[in-house]
């Protein structure tokens, strides 16, 4: 797995002292129908935006908790990486956005019948959020309601 040795000492110390937000109780929704009949959505925290969308704002203290809708038919090569972190290597995802936002892979799974369908819109967040309170209380509930309205059954979440 990734480990803290990837990071500079200053950041390792920060992470060691950081008050991670514990999910408690842990909500749990068992799969309601077979995957072949389920509608899937993709949720990424890689800070990707389409060319017609505003980039994530790296000047916001604690991190930009907003989200972008990414339609399922988006040309992946057009997505722009606006994640503010310089603590990881961005070259892989710029070479192949499926590495962090696997729209093409999910499309293949729909085509093969493994999953029923891919939702018409997917979600992009910028995950470098040291103060995630607004994400938990405001933006995530709003974003999720959109997927509920769409009849999404399952979601795959991919950090970066």
């Amino acid at each position: 797995m990734g480990d803290l040795s990837e990071f500079p000492l200053k950041y390792k110390l920060f992470l060691k002292a950081y008050p991670w937000r514990r999910i408690d109780p842990v909500p749990w929704v068992p799969l309601k129908k077979p995957l072949k009949d389920s509608r899937a959505a993709l949720v990424s925290s890689a800070g990707l935006v389409r060319p017609d969308q505003d980039p994530f704002d790296d000047s916001i203290r604690g991190g930009d908790c907003s989200f972008r809708e990414i339609p399922a038919d988006t040309d992946l090569s057009a997505l722009i990486d606006t994640h503010r972190s310089d603590l990881y290597d961005h070259s892989g995802l710029r070479q192949d956005p499926n590495l962090v936002f696997p729209l093409a892979r999910l499309g293949e799974l729909v085509k093969s019948g493994r999953i029923g369908s891919l939702n018409r819109r997917n979600l992009s967040f910028m995950g470098s959020l040291t103060a995630p309170g607004r994400l938990r209380k405001r933006t995530a509930p709003v974003a999720v309601r959109k997927l509920v309205e769409d009849g999404v059954d399952i979601a795959l979440l991919v950090p970066v």
Binding site: R21, D89, R105, F125, L157
Partner: protein, 88 residues
């Protein structure tokens, strides 16, 4: 931080009735934040599905995540380590 962010969004998805599985790059963070279903992958940050340009490799990771959704024996919070070729 990204691991925590997707965990928190996963929890909100489940609260609103959507089943989730979250890739995680740091087991220690997954254990602290506790997303409902976490697949811990052995890749460095920036490479959550492993290898750029390798569709088979990426599909194998996603397949392991989908199997977590199908596994009715899992209990929350469920943390599974991705082991290439072994997450059957």
């Amino acid at each position: 931080m990204c691991n925590q962010a997707v965990g928190l969004v996963a929890a909100e998805l489940e609260r609103q009735g959507i089943s989730t599985v979250a890739i995680q790059l740091l087991r220690s963070v997954a254990e602290k934040v506790r997303p409902p279903r976490a697949l811990v992958v052995p890749f460095r940050h920036g490479y959550p599905l492993g290898v750029p340009g390798d569709a088979d490799h990426q599909r194998a990771v996603i397949e392991a995540a989908l199997r977590m959704l199908e596994d009715s024996s899992l209990q929350p919070p469920a943390i599974v380590d991705y082991m290439p070729g072994k997450n059957k």
